[in-house]
Each structure stands twice: as structure tokens, then as C-alpha cells.
Point group: C3
Chain length 496, copies 3
């Protein structure tokens, strides 16, 4: 098996690497980081290849991310790949865009309830080679397409792709969250792996060209103007997983193992990167794949009284039809996951929404009262317009599959699907994000007295009533809608 | 009717315009913005004239505002004037200093409970010209002198002056509030109106002189030293209400109206400014003006169980005698509106107080444990002294009607009314702001053991007892007080 | 009696004195203040001598303090010394390292429940000289060795040493706490005392040498590189206690005392500094010293329903055996004071822990999920290793009695006691600080499926089981532990 070079160091740099940003740029951002005149549709600006997958990074210093205090990455894990255990200093939400996997989240003090009592509990019994391996560990969860999973700040977690296709997981970090007491940069602490490998691989088969100074990173051109000098000053020296920073003799004593095994913890010879290929498949005890059984199993832990972190569900499938909040058969659908439907969100102060617009349908112009909103397109494409407090259009572009924009708190926006329609996932920095629509059946314009509308917009009362009542759909509007039907002065049957 | 030029652009600039502050000034403020050696009594430094009123601005970059993270403005709305619907990125509290009006607050998801069922519900039936206009909208509230009204961050609101005198409303913004996730600058997003008008009016009848570069703004001299370069770099280009940033074709579709009406939403030809003159009076359904009925009406929405934002009262008259907490017939009175009396404050983490000192009376020296305190004088004048942590007097001046000072958290202060007495309103950045008096019946000095007082101040036990017990009044002290009565060693009948 | 010169001014400077820090240094700290590559064991870098004691300061600008937003000081109060009443803009926690004393905390609105009804309630009846002195004040509390005491932000407090030995109290300030609305600098406001004394004492018997520019401060060499220019720009002028900033005529009126007494409040002639010698001992009503009685007395105020700040206990003895959470007779013990055991902590969002390691014992490598952790050694010494997110060792040193390190949130650490063993107190910036151990019976490694361990660390399943199960102790490991016992593949009796 060919082992590709992989470069955790670059990984660390991306997570921690805001050290050398230009001073002048920093200062302006600090006090006016939401003075936004231009937002761009963003794709990953950098990536780190590992043995069994790749992680792609959106530029954390882009103004729209800095304003919202959020960061965004995408893991692509090959079948049989394991994203090594790690934790970060912010709460995070992920969305499984494609594929299936198993995720483990290590919660301090929670019991190791998954126990190998019988053979059929193993995920892949055929691979156990007749040898009886007993084990006990904390519960793990299946990841399926459409799952929104949450990880509290500082909780270690890992992901294993047990499917046959690439597992694609996008991850949203809220660095401004109260749970992060470090500075507003997203940092990942690995429990395993070794970034020092890259020094041995620099001349190797991988990345021989102009990227020598940053092996392992695939950089998109033209995205660097905001962080000159950033890469040059990164620490290349003593980097690795957290065990690497301890003396091996301490580890020998703490784990009560021999020196050779303790050195394995530090993984200084590991050259696989942060996503490794599992040999012979991962044998673990896992929940049943059937959703019904899974639901029952997960709920069994809570009794409604002791809502400890151990009994809380950490994931919820946002594509589950029961979560749909708005449906318009001619226009699309919206599902929200807020603190009500997904209680862990109350602790994390985050929420998510899944949107779908059918071809050429429109989402009502609107703003979010109390949250930033990061939009990631999963299917098709849509036109998005975003407006700042000066009435300026700061974004007016096609947003395509795989692209991201951040709509800052209170900025107004409108979406129209392309010919092919569009689906997206959005992440919000509030567990009860509140939206106000500007048009439609439930909207600001309907809340205003007709005379306020008439005087504010200098229109007749008749036209004011049209502005209030002509759009009879809610939130999502079909392409041609009821245009042309026309509402007269007394068109108030809409009241009934 | 003469239409005055009005200049929403300048309005935007004041709300959003901290972009060009000098870098060096910024940085020092940032980390030590509460290292205050000098506070000044502040009056508006700028104003924006509109068709039917004017808004005056206190300088947001003044150190006392920056330290507290608050901003302050005053609307003066002429009879028949309508402050156009808008929302801001911070929670706000207003105080109606003079006049009466109607305020609408648009809360997402709340029902449109005000419905035109019969003629007498209209505020001004004489103006309906016999035409039957039906309407339905969210509840609106009367604004009367003494009302403290609150608006959650991001909630759209408008004010209409339906009285015969100028309506004067001062507004306090808490930019450091958790509900604001943008940077610490107060931004207003208008739903209607058009700042671009000013380019057509520059040579007109209004403001022809030296203010060409900032038409619509009346600037006080000598207030600019803290923000050189600020105005020059403001964007003049594509500014307007939020609809202005959307393509008109999108608006046509979203509102299902014709292009002409959609263009009215953008208001690009509107030259009236942010406060407009309502033609023929505003016909809306409104609550009864009698306080008693109004109270009953407002309480009807809540049942004590479901305290949704829709059922919460958003205003409270702080001059209502039932709110008085301290009365001293010889000295004055204090009314507090905290989270207990006014539950919405718990969500907004703000509170207010109304104070009155009779001529020459004194308020106990004191400090606030957990809040900044902005003071705005509504009647008369008073002498205020403010002391920082180094025991330095940072303010020792007369504070007159219409002036503002911010007393930062923990800074000590004392007030003495002038010969004419004084009334003020104060706004606090905590929903349960706690004050510790230094003198009087309930005070820090009384809480200390007499021997601690004697040793701390190097006085005899007798004098220590005088310090503790000579001032028998609470919080507010009459001018001559009980001075000269003298308390001896055994003056402990105060204990009973 | 000889009165030493004392210098409150310097005291103020240390609390408030971040004004003149180099701009460039500031900016870098601001956005990346947790980009830590090197942490040092810190001792006080400065101290201020007063008549009856000294306060020692840890450098607030040190990066580890800036990252965590905390500060640290140590009071050494001589027998009969009184730390003058003062308040600070942050919540604080103190630990009584040595000696005994009395602490008063002034809480606004709480009743003066301590009343001199009979003679035996006085702490030192022999000193009352036959004179009947009546008094009433808020409750005071005994401070004994091992007490963790809390003070809410802005609450005035004082400490009196009524023992026969020096009273040593270390104090932890959380400047990033929500309760602090000023900038992130710790400021102390004194109710009594006078720093201006130093100008009269400069040539005096005390500190005549090279310290003229900073009399009263004993500075350690070589600690200043981070704040050039800091001392030069401090205000020397009008400094003192908060009464000093008021006009004396206002104080005359507010306290209803003669001018001479009012001037005593300002204390401009006071030359004793911030810790003063009490003449003839302090006569106050105090709780009984016996712990049993004291507990009963303190609990009497709360009835379980009205948990006002007045009825909450403000201190708890962390050395009380009932608080021990982990005991390993071969390794040591850990006691935690969290919001459960000590409810006031829920309001302050702080907690504390007391640790003891026997000679050569080890504490599990671990990280804290949601808090910074400040470590202060009270006995013996220990080796500490701290690791950042890049796997770099940022600290690998002996930490000795009296030294401090801050372990930032999520940074990994391990401790091993020296030959003499070690005891420490640690302060956390979260009322429910959560720790994840890396090794031992309750740990991250045990939570992981054995196959994840095997693949992450490239070891056999057998070795993975050793990593999971060989260390059978919890959190604290005895020096030689069970090393050499060896766990085989089926070593799963640990499951039972």
C-alpha cells in the first residue's frame, strides 16, 4: 500500500496560523470588521492532503468570516479513512454532505456504554479473523447524509468512513462563542498523528515543485492579498500531536506501558497525516444503522429529568421530513434545527437550516435579527443578493455548489434559484435565530399599517395594499407566483 | 407644500461611520478605552434635518461612549411627522421627553392583531374622507411623555407624531450588548427613504454654504478633534434603504407588484429624508389613549405562562407614580425600571431610572457595581462630580437640560441640584443595575463596623459613629438636611 | 509608633496602569494573545509596602495572563493589620494560604445583621476599656487557612488580621468576566487611604535609593521588557481614595459631619498606605470561630427559597475533607469547588481546585475543555509540562512554592511531584470547569474503541489494549504505579 505524504504541520498552521497577519490589516479589522462593502462567494483557498483524505480550508481572514467570527472547512474522507481524534477550542456543527461514517465524541465523565458482549455487535464481523477482541468504549454514532452533528468546545472526536464512497463533511466553527476563551482563532489539538513527517517527504514523490515551503498545501491563486507574510513566519520546529510535547518518560509512567509504546503515542515516525487508512477495516461496536432503531436507542439514555451532556443527542438528520417548517409545492422547502428540536443547540448557541428552492423560485427578501448566517450550497446554484445598512449591494452573484457566503447579522438578502434549482445548508450563530421576511404572508410589510406603507413609500393606499397583500405565499415564492392577478382596494379577503 | 431637503446619507454615515477614524486613536481606545481622566458634558455634535423633523447625534467616538459601548441620539419629530421604519443592530431604549405619538414595533411571527373592524377605531376619523379602508397590522403603542420604550436588536420600528407639539424622543443604544454580533458600532437599516436625494438638493434652498460637502448636517464646532478624516472617506455612492440594494425585478417578483410600485420601495426619488410629513394624517388602528384602558389592553395578551416576545410589554411609563422607589419630600424621588417591573429588560439586559432632585438637594455619593450609567437631564440643572479609580475627579461640572454624561461602571459620583432643581433619565447596561451608596441610612459606611471606620479614616470611635449615623436620610438628602443636629457616641436610636 | 511610608499611588498604577504599554506590543497581543510558544513560572514582579503589610503583584501584561484575561496578587498582612476597604471591577476569588483573619464584604441592600447587643460578642472584649460602644454592621466572616472566598465585581471588602502570624491571601481576578464592563484591566477603587503621602516621604527613612521615581515599589529586575515607558506616564497628581475626588463641602453635606471629619474621609494626610495598623485591636462583632457553629450560623440566613446574594455563602474551606473528590492513598488528592458545592460560583462563573501530589506521584496528562486554569503552588514543588495545539512544549519546568503558571484553555498538561511532594490551589474561569484526562481509568483513551487506538497510534490491538487498560488508577497515579504488571489481550477484568 502506498502511503502518501501528509502534513499535519500545515494543518496546524491553518488552524492556528493567524500570527503573522499584517499589523495594519489587523487593526482595521478589529474595530470595524463588519464595515463590509463587498462579499465574495468563497471556495476553499487551501487544502491539506493526508493518506486517506483531504481537508479543505476557507480563508479564515476573509472579512466576512472575521466579521461573523466563524470559520469553515470541509473534510473529504476516503472509504476506510479515519480522521484522527482531535479537539478544537470552539463549538462546531458539521453537515454530512455525502457518504456515511461513524463518529465518536469523547465526553468527560460519560460512561463507556458500548461493550463487546457478542459478535454481532461488531460493525464488520467478517474481518475479526476469528480472534475474540473484547472492548468497551463510549457510544458512537452513525453519520449519514443530511446529518447535522455538534461537538462542544474542547470535546475530542473522530470520524471513520465505513461506506463505499467518499465521506464529505463540512464543518462550521464559531470562534466568537462564549465557550471559546482563547483568542478568536480556531485551533485544533490532535491526540494522534505527526506533522513532522513532512520534512522527510519534502523531496519525495509528492509536491516537489514550487510548494516546497508549504508541502501538503494546495493553494488557490489570488486569494492571498489579505495575509502577506503569514506563511513565512510559521513555526516549523517542534510540532505534532499533544503527546509530542510531553517527555516520553512521563507517558511511560502515566500509561504504564513500555517506552516503545509510549513513543507510539507521540507518533513521531507517523507519515500518514491527519486522515489515516484503517487496516482491515475498523472493528467497533456501533449503533444499528436503521434510523428507527437508532432513534430508540439514543433516546433510551435520557429520561427527561437528567439532561446531562451524556444523554443529549449530538446529531439530528436535517433532511428528516419531520423537520420541515415551510413547504410550498411550487417553490421549495425550509427545515430549521433550533434549540427546540435539537436541545444541545441551547448549550452551543448555534442552529442550522436546510433550504431548497425549486427552479427559478424565490426566497422572500429578509434579514436575520440576531445571528450571522453562513450559507453553503450543496446542490445546483442560486442567485443571492446581500445588502448592507447603507442600502448598498455587497453581493449580487451566482452561488454555486460548494461555495460559501456569510450574511452578517441584520444584512438583508434575497435568493433566487437557477434553472436547475438549489439546495443549501446554513449555519447560524444563535440557537434561536430569528428571521424577518420583507414580503409575503408573514412579513414586515404586512405588519405595518397601510397608511404607514403609503406614506413611507409615497404610494396610494391602493398600491400600499398591493404591497401588503399581493404576495400571498409565505417565505418561498413560486417563480411566476400570482403575478398579474392584481389586488384592488378591497382585496382584504386575504384577512380571512 | 415645501419639501425640505433631507439627507439620509448623512444619517447612515453617523450610524456606520467609524470607518475612517485614525488608526492610532483606535488602537489606544481599544485596550484602554476606560482609562478615563476627563469626561465632558456632551451635547449633540451633529444633526440631520428631514422634511418633518431632525435627529441629533452625540459623538459616538467620545471616550465615555466608547468605554461604555453605548451611543445616544435624539429625534425631534414635528406634528404629523413619521420616522420611517428601520432597525438597528443593537437593543435600544428610548425615553419620550416631550409630546405624544404612536410607535409600531415589528416582531417576527407575532400576529397582526389590530384590525379595522369599525370606524371609531381609527385615530383620526375625520380624515377618512368617507372611503372605507380596511387594514390589519401588528399592535401599535401610544407614546406619551415619560414612556420608556424598548426595541430588541434587529426589530423594525417607526414613530408617528400624532400630537400638536414636537415629539422629542431620546434613544440609548447598547452596542456592547450580547445581542449585537456585529462590531461595536451602531448601524441603522432603513426599510424606506432615500439618502441619494441630497445630490439633487445641494445647490437648493437649504444649506447652500460651507456645508456643501455634508449637506443635511449641522455640525457643532470644536468637536472633531477625535476623528480627523472621518467624513472625507465616507461612501457617497450607492446608498439608500435596504430595498435599494436589490434588483427591482426581484422586488417585482417578491412583492408581486408592477415595476413602478417596486421602484417606489427603493425610493430613489424620495427627497424627504428619514422623517416624513404624513399627508392628511395617519389613519391607523391604535390603542385607546386612556392609560387605564391601555394597561388593560396590553396585559390582555399575556396569560402569565407563555411569555413570548409577542405578549411582552415593550414600554412602561417611568413617571407613573407606582414606580417610585425612593421618596424624600425634602429632597426628591427616584424611580427604577428593572427586570422585575419591566420583564422585557431581562432579555435586553438594560434598565432605566428616573431621578428628581429638589433645589439644592443632594444624591448620596455612590457607585454602580455592575453597569455603566448614562445620564440625560430633562429639566433644570445639577452639579455632578465623577471620580475614577485613582481618586481623580474626572468630571466636576454643571449638567444642564439636554446634556449627557456617562458614568462608567464602578466610578463614584455625587449629584447636587441647582437652585432650580433637576430631573433626569438614566440608562444602564444591566437589567438589574446595583448601586451602593456611600452615605446615608442604607450605605457602605453603615455596613462597616465602627472600628473599621475609625481605623480606616483615622478618626475616633465617636467621629466614626457620626460618619455612620449622622446622615439619617436615604439616597436623597435635603439641602440643609439634619446638619447641626449632631450625633453623639450613643446616637444609636437610629438602629430602631 | 513608627509609621512607615506607604504608597497607594503605586498601588493604583499597578491596578490601572496599562495605559502606556507600547502600541505595537498591544496590537499583536490583542488578536493573537493566545498564540503562546513559551510560558514561564512567574513570581511577583512588583510589590507595594504599607504600614502593616505588603501586596505583591504578578505582571498583568505577561502573555499567559493576557491570554486568559486574569490577574493575580498576594496580600501579606501583619498581625493587627487592616487592608482598607476597596472594590474592584472584576469578580475575584481569594485563597487564604496562611494565618487567620476577618473579612467584611459590603453587599448593597443586605441588612446589618451583626449587632452589638451584649459584651461577649466583641472579638476582643478586654480592649473595650469599659466604655460601652454600640454598633451594627453587615455580617463579617472568619478567614482561615484553606478558605476560598469570593467577592462579586464592585462589592467593597476589607480584611483584618486578628491572628498572631502573618496573614497571606492570594487573589485571582477574572478581568474577562461578563461582570466587568470596563476594559480588560483590573482596577481597584479604595474607600479610604491616601497615595499622595509618598511625595512627603520620598526623602524619608524608607526607600531612599534608586527607587525615588517609584517609591513604595520593590521591583524585581529583568521583568520589564514587556512594558517600556509604563511608569513614566502615570499620573502622579491628584490621586487618592474615591472621596478625594469629591469636593469636601459635598461630603460635609452628604455625611452631615463637620468639615474636619469630612476631610478625614479624603485622607489626604494619611501616610499609612493601603494596609494600616489597627490601634488597640479591632473591636467588631464576628461569627464564632468554631467551624461547626460558623456553618450553622451562615446557613441560617438562607431558607432554600430566596437565594439572594445576601444569604449566599461567600466562602468555603477547600481543605475541608468533605470536598475531596479524588483520593489515591499512594498518589494524592483533589478537591474541587464548583457551582454545585459553592453556589455563589454560578454567579461569578469561576471555580477552584485544591490538589496534592505525594512525592514523585503523577497527575494524569489532561486538558480542560472550557476554562483557563491558574496554578499557584502552596507547598513543595512539582514538575509541570504544558503543550499547545501544535504539540509544542510551552512549559517544562519545576514549579515551586509561591510560583504561578496559567494553563490556557485546551492546552494539555501533566504534573509530577518532586521528592518533597506538592500542594497547589488552582483557579478556573468557569463555574463548571471540565477536565478530560488522557490516561487512567476515566480518560479519553478508554473512551476510544480499541481499533481506533490501534490505527491512530499504529500499534497492535494488544498494545492498544495496554494503552487503554494498563493504567488502572484514576487521575492521580502513584510513582511506580502498577508498572511492570503488564496487561494482556484479555485484560478486561478491568471492565468489572
Amino acid at each position: 500500500m502506498a502511503i502518501k505524504a501528509s502534513f499535519l504541520l500545515a494543518f496546524f498552521l491553518l488552524f492556528a496560523g493567524t500570527l503573522a497577519r499584517q499589523q495594519q490589516h489587523q487593526q482595521q479589522q478589529q474595530l470595524n470588521q463588519c464595515q463590509i462593502n463587498r462579499i465574495n462567494a468563497l471556495e476553499p483557498y487551501d487544502s491539506i492532503q493526508a493518506e486517506a483524505g483531504v481537508t479543505e480550508f476557507w480563508e479564515p481572514d476573509n472579512q466576512q468570516f472575521r466579521c461573523a467570527g466563524v470559520e469553515f472547512i470541509r473534510h473529504r474522507i476516503q472509504p476506510g479513512g479515519l480522521l484522527l481524534p482531535s479537539y478544537v477550542n470552539t463549538p462546531l456543527m458539521s453537515f454530512t454532505e455525502q457518504g456515511r461514517g461513524i463518529q465518536g465524541v469523547v465526553l468527560p465523565g460519560c460512561p463507556e456504554t458500548y461493550e463487546s458482549g457478542s459478535e454481532q455487535q461488531f460493525s464488520d464481523p467478517s474481518k475479526r479473523r476469528g480472534q475474540r477482541v473484547q472492548d468497551r468504549h463510549q457510544k458512537v454514532q452513525n453519520l449519514n447524509q443530511g446529518d447535522v452533528a455538534t461537538i462542544p468546545a474542547g470535546a475530542a472526536h473522530w470520524i471513520y468512513n465505513d461506506g463505499n464512497t467518499e465521506l464529505v463533511v463540512v464543518v462550521f466553527f464559531d470562534a466568537q462563542n462564549n465557550a471559546n476563551q482563547l483568542d478568536a482563532n480556531h485551533r485544533r489539538f490532535f491526540l494522534a498523528g505527526n506533522p513532522q513527517a513532512q520534512s522527510q517527504q519534502q523531496q519525495g514523490q509528492w509536491q516537489p515543485g514550487s510548494h516546497q515551503e508549504q508541502p501538503g498545501r494546495h493553494q488557490q491563486p489570488g486569494r492571498q492579498q489579505e495575509q502577506p507574510g503569514r506563511h513565512q513566519e510559521q513555526p516549523y520546529g517542534n510540532a505534532g500531536n499533544i503527546f509530542n510535547g510531553f517527555d516520553v518518560e512521563f507517558l511511560v509512567e502515566a500509561f504504564n506501558v513500555d517506552k516503545e509504546t509510549a513513543e507510539k503515542l507521540q507518533g513521531q515516525r507517523d507519515q500518514r497525516g491527519h486522515i489515516v487508512k484503517v487496516q482491515q477495516g475498523l472493528q467497533i461496536i456501533r449503533p444499528p444503522q436503521s434510523r428507527q432503531e437508532e432513534e430508540r436507542e439514543q433516546r433510551g439514555h435520557g429520561n427527561g429529568f437528567e439532561e446531562t451532556i451524556c444523554s443529549l443527542k449530538l446529531k439530528e438528520n436535517i433532511d428528516n421530513p419531520s423537520h420541515v417548517d415551510f413547504v410550498n409545492p411550487q417553490a421549495g422547502r425550509i427545515s430549521n434545527l433550533n434549540n427546540d428540536k435539537f436541545p444541545i443547540l441551547r448549550r452551543l448557541q448555534l442552529s442550522a437550516a436546510r433550504g431548497e428552492l425549486y427552479p427559478n423560485a424565490i426566497q422572500s427578501p429578509r434579514w436575520m435579527l440576531n445571528a450571522h448566517n453562513l450559507l453553503y450550497v450543496t446542490h445546483g446554484s442560486l442567485r443571492v443578493q446581500i445588502v448592507n445598512n447603507q442600502g448598498e449591494s455587497v453581493f449580487n452573484d451566482e452561488l454555486r455548489k460548494g461555495q460559501v457566503v456569510v450574511i452578517p447579522q441584520n444584512f438583508a438578502s434575497i435568493k433566487r434559484a437557477s434553472q436547475e434549482g438549489a439546495k443549501w445548508i446554513s449555519f447560524r450563530t444563535n440557537d434561536d435565530a430569528i428571521t424577518e421576511n420583507l414580503a409575503g404572508r408573514v412579513s414586515a410589510i404586512r405588519s405595518l399599517p397601510v397608511d404607514v406603507v403609503a406614506n413611507a413609500y409615497q404610494v396610494s393606499r391602493e398600491d400600499a395594499q398591493k404591497l401588503k397583500y399581493n404576495q400571498q405565499q409565505t417565505a418561498l415564492f413560486s417563480p411566476s407566483s400570482s403575478r398579474g392577478k392584481g389586488w384592488g382596494v378591497l382585496g382584504l379577503n386575504t384577512l380571512d
